[in-house]
Every structure is written in structure tokens, then in C-alpha cells.
Amino acid sequence: MIPSSENTFLNKEKLPFPFCPGCGHGSILDQLNSALIKLNFDSSEVVLVTDIGCQGLSDQFFTTNSFHGLHGRSITYATGIKLINPKLKVIVLIGDGGCGIGGHHLINAARRNIGLTVLVFNNLNYGMTGGEHSATTPTGSFTSSTLKGNLERPMNICSTVSVNGASFVARTTSFDDNLSDLIAQAIQTEGFSLIDIWELCTAYYVPRNKFSRKALENTIVSLKFETGILHNEIYPEYSTAYRDNTLDLQNKPTFTRFPLEQKYSHQLKTLKTFIISGTAGKRIGTAATIFCRAAVLSGLFATQRDDYPVTVKTGFSLAEISLSPDESKLVGNSHPDVMIVLSPEGFKKVQSKFESLTENTIIYLDKNLPIIKSKAKEIRLDFNKTGLKKEYWALTCLAYILYNKGIFPLDALSDAASIRKDFANDYINAINGFKNL
């Protein structure tokens, strides 16, 4: 079956194929070679990506580019190649084993409609490791791992990729004389294409199941697995669609920068640390960021370390802030100079710290929170009186502290709050709200 023409993609020095007598792999590879010849590609335009199993040996017999990787992951490497170079014809040679262990990649490559051609060498069992059952082994079949007949039902690879967005899907057998045309059609498909090629494993599946070409064809019929081109629809191919989709972003400046040129001065001599503890979703982190940016606008170095549970809008939210006249350091901060506690969730998070605090700490607490036992100086504030939503209590409290302690000017806080134009009015309003505390 090797074409006599010089124009072959097979490496004559490496031939013949090392497959068992009667194995379908060799004829599929010959048909692949014919398809590549018909399409008149240059070897450098083609990348064969092989999986694990006997078909994994096959890339070595081709003169094209190739990658031979880990079991079931061939589609992932192929995707990376296609994403960088959409012009390449990336062809994945995978077994039924690879489709099982790499099923997730198979579904997602189809869903993404990435322009790969996947040829499944489907011989219904693991030929390389000793004839164990695979995801496509028919029910009742005997393999080295299904000694009393397979209890599982075979995966319908074509249906799986068809319903998940593949462009071109076909099923046939290695005995199909028109296989090379079918492969050529698959390769020419812009999007994701797959051919499920059923074949005989003469080492294991055939002797164990008294299997034959006829039995193979009958099995396909009895499973109601259709043959021929089963799906052929045009959807946008991912690597091209990605480029089209992001074209308007190209050459736009990267990263939104908020340069904080010093505009104000500060009165800080040494490191000052804060903890704000409240409820998730109540803009604790945002208030801390505005405060830190204001500090930087005033010539300070600021660090903000957030802590929160894995949930998003429930539970506590805590921000640790360090302000320093010199280079700031990220260090553990269990005895802050200032602690702000705004809600029951925030209270619960820090209450174990209260007792160990000294008179060097000032704690600002919402008026309605429980009584605390601490040597720290306690200041109760009635946030409800401000009329502000709870989302703004942290910021209004920080404004209150700045006004009373004068670390840096309130104007710096207003400036920092105006950096994000979309929320500026609400934040300025919150800053001014401290007057009602």
C-alpha cells in the first residue's frame, strides 16, 4: 500500500511498521499517507501528535513534524500547537484507550471546535499493555480485565463529540477503501474533526472474542453505531475565532495603571498597623485599598493583606494594613495599633485577639456589637447614624480616624476614592459621612 511515488510522507528507512500481522494500524497509516499526498502538503506544514498505545509508535514512520506525549493528553499538546500556529495541520493519532483517559480533553476540544483532526485507532481494547478493556469495549466482550465479559457499555465516541460541538464526525473501519478520502476531508475541515476508525487487534481482542472483520462490522450494526459521515457543520474554529475576537484589543496599552505621585504629606514617624474586620461583600478590602492609595499619595509606603473564607459574599472579610514612612514589609500583624470591627462576622473573626491587646491599641467598634474584654482603648461608633449603607462603613470609619488622628489629610482619601470614576461619588459621600458619627 506504500505509494510508489517519491512523494510520500512515510520514512522509508524506518519501514516496515512494527504492528502485529493483521492489525489495522498499518493500513490506517497508509491511508493517512495517501490523504497527505492528495492534499499536497509540505511535511513542515503537518504535525502528527500521537498518544500512548501501539498507534503511539506511528509518528516515527512519517517525515512530518511530530510529538509523542503522555497517555490521553495528545489533544492538549495539539491544542497548544494550533493556538500558536493556526496554519499548521495538526493531526492527532489516538487509541480507544486515549479517548477514555483523555475523554475530558476530547469533549472540550470538540466544544471549543479547535481545528484538530483526531483519528481514533479503535481496536476495542488496550493492545500494548496486554488486552485490557477500554472505554469502547463492547458489553459482554472478553478481555484480560473483563474475564467474565465486559459489564460496561461502550462509549459512543462519535456521538460524544457530535453533541459537544465538533464540526466533522465520521465512523468507519480500517477496511474502508475510501478511508484516505475521508481523512482528507477531515483534515480540510476548519474546525474540530474526528474519525472513529474501528479495527482488529489480532494479538488480543480477536483470539479472545473469536472476532473477525465480519464480526466487527456486525458489532457496529448491533450497537446501532452508524457509519459514514455523521456530522458535518461549519462553526467558527477556535484559534481563528480567538484572533478575530481579540483583534480590537491589539496594540492597546497593557494594564490599567494608577500612578500615585506624592501630593500630600504625612505625620507618621514609625510603622502603624491596622486591622479592619467586617462582613464579606461590604467593601472592607476596597476601603483598605482606597486608604492605602491615599497613604501612598501622602508619601507613605502601604501594604494591604486580605483574609477571607473561601465563600464570596458570606462570612468575614478582614484587611490588615501597614503604613510606614520607609519601605514597607509584609510581616505578621497580631497586635495592630488600630482595630476596626464593623459587624458580628468581623467580631467573631478577631474576638480571640481582644484579650491579648495592650493599651497601645485603639479598637473602633460598631455600637451594637457585644461588650469586649481588652486592655485596648475602646471607641464605640454608631454607624447607623450616618445613614450610610454597610458597604461604606469601613471607609467612613477610616475617614473618622484620619480626621481625629491626622496621619495624612482627608483630601488624600478623597483623591484616592476618585481614582475609580465609576464609584467616586458614593465613596466621597462615605468619606464625608464620618461627620455624623
Binding site: S66, G69, R73, H105, Q250, G332
Partner: protein, 372 residues
Amino acid sequence: MREFIDGSEVVARAAINSGCNFFSGYPITPATSILLHMLKELPKIGGTAIQAEDEISAMGFCIGAALSGARVMTATSGPGISLYSESIGAAIMCEVPMVIVDCQRMGPATGGATTVSQGDIQFLRWGTSGGFPVIVLAPSSLAECYSLTQRAFELAEIFRSPVFLALDKDLVLTSSTVDIKAISKQIMPNRPTATYNDNYLPFAIKNLQDTPLFSPYGGSNIVRMTASSHNEAGFLVKDPKIVNQLNNHLVAKIDHHIEKISMVKADLQPGSKILLISFGSPSQAMLEAVSESRSRGNLVSSLIILSLWPVPEKLILTCLEGIHQVYVIELNHGQYRREIDRLAKPDQLVIGINRIDGELITPKEILEKIGS
């Protein structure tokens, strides 16, 4: 110009300034923000960023993209590194240049998603089958998040190797004041690349410690790559002589260049009998403790290890000279202490200062431990 940003943005900016043009990752706390930055920013420079279906594919995409000529990065945390494991091996075997960011969180398993840890330090070195070396860098500040990301790209390209950036939740997600402009450099490290060659051999080397010349898929050379034991042409082999040479090469190409890779920040005080060693975010508490201790009139030396793997043995040994007590400060049960222990002389006492409760080590704790 000062800015107030977090480590995830610093790493992303440094990557893009080092020519990174491909990123794939899977959302996982605390690494997600790097993924989000890259998804947003890479298209602006004509690059590609993609959220993969899982961590396994994220690594697979990176390998395919890197072999097609892209400069690639991915980011995850401990559970993701577990899934990266087999592909880290493939990247070592196919000599794929890539930067892998590990934003360490508390383990084992799902552990603490939003909790700081340095529990992956040995895992990064030994996290794939075969025991072959990788490079691991560990920034200890925001500024180093920038410079070491750039260095990671340089080393990945020079040695065609996966290079890890060992961060932690607090380095990635803590915002701080930093002047990026002052530290940023436009670095486009060169991957040693083959010119057109009719008989290009993708794994050809003269000496064991050489890095083979790269040629991308889609270029003029035909490129054969395989994760199996191979000869210089990229064909699978079982010949003991060739396999032996390949495996010795994979070790030599890192270990032979250890001096070039080694990076530490030592602050040695003449006459000091005490040496504090740390890496990553606890280094900052260490420096604070050292300056406090010195202000009390004590002699204390400190060492921040920036290149964890291969272990910068010579530099560490120099710092150990004349030292009686070594304190190794880390957020795990003493993983890197093992390396210091084997380097220290029998009469040098190596003591761990560790925290594994998700809180940072405080300078006060360090001062209490060292008793000065």
C-alpha cells in the same frame, strides 16, 4: 512612579515584559488573579491566553505552544501542581522552556484555599517521576516578584527547562507600594535556536551540559519531539548507552550551571555566630527581626535564598562559615531545613522556626526563638 498593586499583577507585568505571549491556566485560589490578568492583557500584545478545561490541559497547551515558538507561562497552587506532575516530566523530557508559577496555599489536598503556606518546596523539586532536576526561584518581595519572573523566563529559555516561581498566597495577593518603572526592564531572552538544516536533530548536543538548539513547529526544520527516551533525532530508543547519555544530560544541563542559576541575598555581620535563613514571604519578618536584634547590640547574619533548586550549596556554605546556630524560617514543617542540615557541619546547630497554621511568622516570634 509608585503604585499600589499586588504580586499577581507584578508577575503578570514582568512576564509580558519578558516576551511571554502564551498563558494557559485553570482557576484556582490563590493563582486565579494571574490567569485573569493574562486573559485580559495578552491579547493586547497579540498573544494568546486561554482558560483550559483542567490543570492537565493547561500544561499540555503550554507544552504545545512553547514547542511552536511561544514564550509560555502557567500559574496554579498546590492541588494544581499535583495535576501538572506528569506534564512537568514531559516538559523536562522534551526540554520545553516554560515558567510555572506556584502560588502556594495550605495543604494537603484542598487544604486551605485562602491560607498561606510554603508546603510545596520539596514537592516542586521532586514532583514528577524520575527525579530529574528543575529550577525553582522564590521571590521574597514584590520587587523580586518582578525581577525573578524575568529571571525565570531567561533561565527557561537558556536551559530549555521548566522553571518554577515559588510564590505564596501572601506574596501574590498582598498589595504593596512598589515603583515598577524603576525596576522594570524589557528583557527578551534568546532561546538558542537552530538555523535551517536539512537534517535538523532536535536533541543534538556536543557536551552533556549543553542545551540542544531549538526549532519551532511550523518553521523550516522538521521537528520530532517525544516524551519517551530518545536519541538526538527524537526517535524512541532503548539502547542503554543512548538512554544513559540522555538521562545524564538532563541532570548535567541544570547541575553543571548551578553557579549561573544560584541567587541569594546575604547580609552577613562579621563575628556573628547566628545565621537566619529564609525564603519567600517570611524573609520580610526575618529582616525585621534582624534589624531589631542588631539595634539591641546583637551580632546576627541573615540569608534569603532566591534560587531554591538547584540548592545554591557553595553560597550557603560560605554563609555558614563561623556560624554556631542556624535558624531556618519557613511556613512548613521544615522542608528546606533538610537541605541546610545536610550542608551544615556536625557542630553547627540547625533549628527550625516554622508556622503551619496559616498565619505569618512575626518578627517577635523570631526574636524570642533566637533569644536576642
